[in-house]
């Protein structure tokens, strides 16, 4: 069953050109230079401090490091982070 689902998903992505983030429920992360990170489709905030932001995503976490972080905007599944970004890391469970 799971295999079937995966096959359908890859079919949809490849033949209908549907965006992969929608189909696979993966986060879409937009980074603007060093100053902005825009994360959509996350599943919740885990830690937030001046230097670190950790978000839960499908199958793992996204960790963003840097300094002078400000959450410019917070919506149910979107976050706009401002600051000086040094790294973006994907952590698995």
């Amino acid at each position: 069953m799971k295999k079937f689902r995966q096959r359908v998903q890859s079919l949809l992505i490849n033949s209908f050109a549907l965006p992969s983030d929608v189909i696979l429920e993966l986060p879409r992360i937009t980074v603007i230079g060093q100053i902005h990170v825009y994360i959509e489709n996350h599943q919740g905030l885990v830690t937030y401090s001046d230097t670190e932001l950790k978000l839960k995503v499908n199958k793992g976490y996204v960790q963003i490091k840097g300094n002078s972080f400000v959450l410019k905007m917070m919506l149910p599944e979107e976050i706009l982070l401002e600051g000086t970004i040094t790294d973006i890391k994907f952590l698995s469970n």
Partner: protein, 403 residues
């Protein structure tokens, strides 16, 4: 960032959340649909962020049952500014008063300008205007409409031929034209006097010119009465050619009174009606905004059977603009209409009277009615119809220039 646009107008507060993992509180908020922005971690256990003013009540629900401590540290936006402003009574009062003052001052007459007339008449006009209540510092509402003043001024200042009254904002400008008694032109071209109407000449007074008709002559319109062409008669033996040279042309002048006749048809009803004001009146005041009239003073209609309405509209100015608000005062006067019935003789009398005054109005004040005769009278539809012939004596001379 579209979500936080316009928050200045709806107002927002900065909140400070204290407790372990304060960012999770904001996470909770977003899950409930509350938009939070500009979140900053101030300390390890403290986090601040902005929320909308209207979301605060939801915030309280969320905070209930958690260990977080919530403090408001900043209030921003229009509602707060407005509240602060409202609380400053003296400022508010001052603004109100200054608007009132501007309002008051723009409805006061500041200047009366008179142009086009010499000083002495200007003085007279100023005096006259004073009597109407138009002077510097007068209240605009108490002043009559410019066209009324125009009429009154021309009546009351006999030296004025015409006056234009114009209200421009707080200035009343009057432009006068003086009545000049123009002497008749010194040099008049040669002219004849001719008849304008048919009639029998009764009286002749010829100042200049050669009379061509005599008393008791019958003339038709266009007949020559007094000729402006005078030939010298003393040298009769001169030849025709030379005579022609001697001809003098003058401007004929004179008054030729002739008897003329007019037939006038009048109808005088047996039944008649007229209206009269009883003197009872009531004044109502309205404020008119566009087409809507809002009563201010004088409610309810008076119990008059018939009402004569007299409405005066005065507009209100603010600085140089005319406001769409107008003050309307209506005077409701009681009127009574009377109906009566005349006898036939009375009807004839009034008919005659009417015919006489109509005729005199048409002919001018120089005409004199010498005799009158009812030619024919008959009753028809409750009216007496009459044909009357009038004999009138009047001046029938008219100037005709000689080419």
């Amino acid at each position: 960032m579209r979500q936080v646009q316009g928050t200045f107008f709806s107002g927002y507060v900065t909140i400070l959340v204290k407790g372990n993992y304060p960012e999770l509180f904001f996470q909770e908020c977003t899950k409930k649909g509350i938009t939070v922005w500009n979140i900053r971690k101030v300390e390890q256990d403290a986090c601040e962020g902005n929320v909308r003013l209207k979301d605060i009540s939801h915030l309280r629900l969320i905070i209930r049952g958690t260990h977080y401590k919530l403090t408001f540290i900043n209030k921003k936006g229009y509602p707060f500014i407005f509240n602060r402003f409202i609380k400053k009574r003296p400022l508010l009062l001052a603004i109100f008063l200054s608007v009132l003052l501007a309002f008051f001052l723009s409805n006061i007459l500041w200047k009366v300008e008179i142009t086009g007339v010499p000083k002495d008449i200007e003085e007279k006009i100023i005096k006259q205007l004073d009597e109407y209540g138009i002077h510097r510092g007068a209240w605009m509402f108490s002043i009559d409409q410019p066209n009324l003043i125009q009429q009154k001024l021309v009546e009351d200042v006999p030296e004025l031929l015409w006056v234009g009254v114009n209200q421009r904002g707080t200035t009343y400008s009057l432009e006068g034209v003086e009545k000049l008694i123009v002497k008749e032109e010194e040099k008049q071209g040669p002219r004849n006097l001719i008849a304008t109407k048919k009639g029998v000449i009764k009286k002749m007074y010829v100042a200049k010119g050669l009379p061509m008709v005599q008393v008791n002559d019958y003339v038709e319109p266009g007949d020559l009465l007094v000729s402006g062409k005078i030939s010298s008669n003393d040298q009769e033996e001169e030849s025709e050619k030379e005579k022609e040279k001697k001809v003098n042309y003058v401007a004929a002048e004179g008054e030729i009174t002739a008897e003329t006749w007019y037939e006038v048809k009048v109808a005088s009803p047996i039944e008649y009606s007229y209206e009269e004001l009883t003197g009872n009146k009531e004044t109502k005041y309205y404020i008119q905004i566009a087409d809507f009239k809002f009563p201010v003073w004088g409610f309810g209609d008076p119990e008059y059977e018939q009402i004569h309405y007299d409405t005066k509209v005065s507009s209100i100015n603010f600085l140089k603009w005319e406001l769409p608000i107008k003050i309307v005062d209506t005077v409701l006067s009681e009127k009574v209409s009377y109906k009566g019935e005349r006898t036939k003789e009375e009807a004839i009398q009034t008919g005659m009277e009417q015919a006489r005054s109509e005729l005199l109005l048409k002919l001018g004040k120089d005409a004199k009615i010498m005799s009158e005769k009812v030619l024919h009278e008959r009753m028809e539809n409750g009216k007496v119809k009459m044909n009357i012939i009038f004999t009138v004596e009047e001046n029938i001379a008219r100037v005709q220039p000689i080419k």
